[in-house]
């Protein structure tokens, strides 16, 4: 079943695929953090009873987030080809795959940020409103620090989801470990590659989870 010498001979290909996966995830995680964090905060502070309560903003962004999240990733991937082409000039390769991965991850992460902030005791926010703090101070010095640990766990979840999504991106030429698994393992009944890629993905996810948990715990001052 597992042909070790063959596995060794395939190592350069596996390494190349691994790097592609890392590139895809790194780009899409960065973009989803940069856009998803403010979006999540916006969803939270525009909610009923919050200091920037705004039904219009809440509904528009809430709808957009739900819309993207309800589209199966594989369809989103194909539907975004025109946009990808426009931005990258190609629809093939890890960088091109990052476009749809980011679009999928942004609303996911934004919702996680929003729910992290919901866990903060409303009283703490109220106490700082009573102190006369500006909304910006409350976001920067209360909401983000208080939700920090939980947001880190959200980042972990987002990265793990992206690992799974990135495998799908492989189907349409995105490259990466998932691509390798499907091309060799699935289409060619290549058990060695199948086992190796699955093992790599399992180890990768475990590592991400472990690191995320460690970081989340170490920054929590409670």
């Amino acid at each position: 079943m597992f042909d070790f010498p063959y596995f060794i001979s395939m190592l350069p290909d596996i390494w190349k695929a691994f790097k592609e996966t890392i590139i895809m995830i790194a780009i899409s995680v960065s973009i989803s953090l940069v856009i998803g964090l403010p979006l999540g905060i916006l969803l939270f502070v525009s909610d009923k009873g919050m200091f920037w309560e705004n039904r219009f903003i809440k509904n528009v962004f809430g709808f957009a987030v739900n819309l993207v999240r309800s589209i199966p990733y594989i369809i989103l991937l194909v539907a975004l080809f025109p946009l990808t082409n426009l931005l990258i000039g190609s629809t093939i390769g890890p960088v091109a795959a990052s476009v749809s991965l980011s679009v999928a991850a942004i609303p996911y992460f934004a919702r996680l940020v929003e729910s992290s902030m919901r866990e903060i005791d409303k009283g703490v926010v109220e106490a700082t409103i009573a102190v006369g703090a500006t909304p910006w101070m409350i976001i920067k010095d209360v909401l983000i620090p208080e939700a920090r640990s939980s947001i880190i766990r959200g980042v972990t979840l987002t990265i793990i989801s992206l690992v799974a999504y990135s495998a799908m991106a492989g189907v349409v030429g995105g490259g990466g470990i998932g691509d390798l698994a499907i091309r060799f393992g699935y289409y060619r009944y290549d058990d060695t590659i199948m086992i190796a890629t699955v093992a790599i993905l399992v180890i990768l996810v475990q590592l991400i989870q472990l690191t995320g948990e460690l970081v989340a715990k170490s920054i929590d001052k409670r």
């Binding site: 009283g123 703490v124 106490a127 009573a130 102190v131 006369g132 703090a133 101070m137 010095d141 001052k221």
Partner: protein, 333 residues
């Protein structure tokens, strides 16, 4: 000075309206420690939260030093809130920031220059007795210490009013007392008006000079704490007073009582014991103490005695009349 003018707060829920505060008007003078007492759901918390507009009254005005806060723009309101400190039952400190940073947060809200912040944080920590806890996170503090941080944060910008929302309800009796002493000290030293809400009469008795009792969103009785303790008028007030000063006499004892049972109240400087012994000597009555206490409220003694008077009806009546002439308030139980 703090004035509530016809404050009404109605909560809209899906099916019905709930009246939280029902047309309350109250005046709290500068330098008062004003206690608002009531059971949970009486509307006292809603009323308190109307002061800094954490809740907006449905109708009515809140005047803080003559300014109607409900008319301010949101940025003006923010500035006004700097001068209204508030502490809470569950402290509500920022758990991810140190004690010093929590206090500095309030100072930064007031745009205090950076070089002034550290000095002021140290001053405040000294005032609340936590100088050694500046770099500690709230999670490592006891309840009483957390409340002290809350007080330091609330006082950071030299407010004229301090609102206390059940500030000692989560603390043990000993810690409660130390927090109350601190509040009293702040009131005396800094002249800050304190409004506190509580369901514990002990708290009111300990530090308040004036009080109001609330039920179903309305103020049922208000006045000087001493007067209310001496002569509570409303049934609810009497119930609350009973929780602190109780005169329950066991039935076993009451069974053997032959004469008339009276309650004698001595307010202020009237020396209770002297009056009673004079009465016993002058009139042909036998007195028998069943219960008695001298409470000190605002450092003024309040003597309350339950006695059995035995003798001729005429003599007993004369004795009661004599005690009343001497300044006692006599009531047949």
């Amino acid at each position: 000075m703090l004035e509530f003018q016809n404050i009404t707060k109605i909560y809209e829920s899906k099916k019905k309206q709930i009246v939280g505060v029902d047309n309350v008007s109250l005046t709290i003078n500068k330098g008062d420690i004003f206690g608002i007492v009531g059971y949970s759901g009486a509307g006292k918390s809603s009323l308190l939260r109307c002061v800094n507009l954490l809740e907006r009254p449905t109708s009515g005005k809140v005047l803080v030093d003559g300014v109607d806060l409900t008319q301010l723009s949101s940025s003006e309101l923010r500035i006004a809130r700097l001068k209204i400190g508030m502490i809470f039952q569950h402290f509500y400190l920022i758990s991810q920031k140190t004690v010093g940073e929590n206090i500095a947060f309030a100072l930064r809200a007031a745009k205090t220059p950076k070089n002034r912040i550290e000095q002021r944080v140290n001053e405040l920590l000294e005032m609340v007795g936590l100088t050694d806890k500046r770099d500690v996170y709230p999670g490592q503090l006891s309840g009483g210490q957390k409340q002290r941080v809350g007080i330091a944060r609330a006082l950071a910008n030299n407010p004229s009013i301090l609102l206390c929302d059940e500030a000692t309800s989560a603390l043990d009796p000993k810690t409660t007392l130390s927090i109350l002493r601190l509040l009293k000290e702040i009131n005396e030293k800094l002249g800050i008006t304190i409004v506190l809400i509580t369901h514990e009469m002990d708290v009111v008795k300990e530090i308040c000079n004036r009080m109001a009792i609330m039920q179903d969103g309305r103020v049922v009785e208000t006045g000087e704490v001493y007067d209310i303790f001496a002569e509570p008028k409303e049934p609810l007030t009497q119930e609350f007073i009973k929780s602190v000063v109780s005169f329950d006499i066991p039935n076993e004892i009451l069974k053997d009582v032959k004469g008339q049972i009276i309650k004698i109240l001595f307010k202020g400087e009237v020396a209770g014991e002297g009056v009673i012994s004079d009465t016993m000597q002058r009139f042909n009555v036998k007195g028998n103490f069943l219960h008695g206490t001298i409470e000190y409220i605002q450092e003024r003694p309040l003597g309350i005695f339950i006695m059995e008077l035995q003798g001729e009806i005429a003599a007993v009546n004369e004795a009661k009349h004599y005690m009343e002439q001497r300044g006692a308030i006599v009531e047949v139980v």
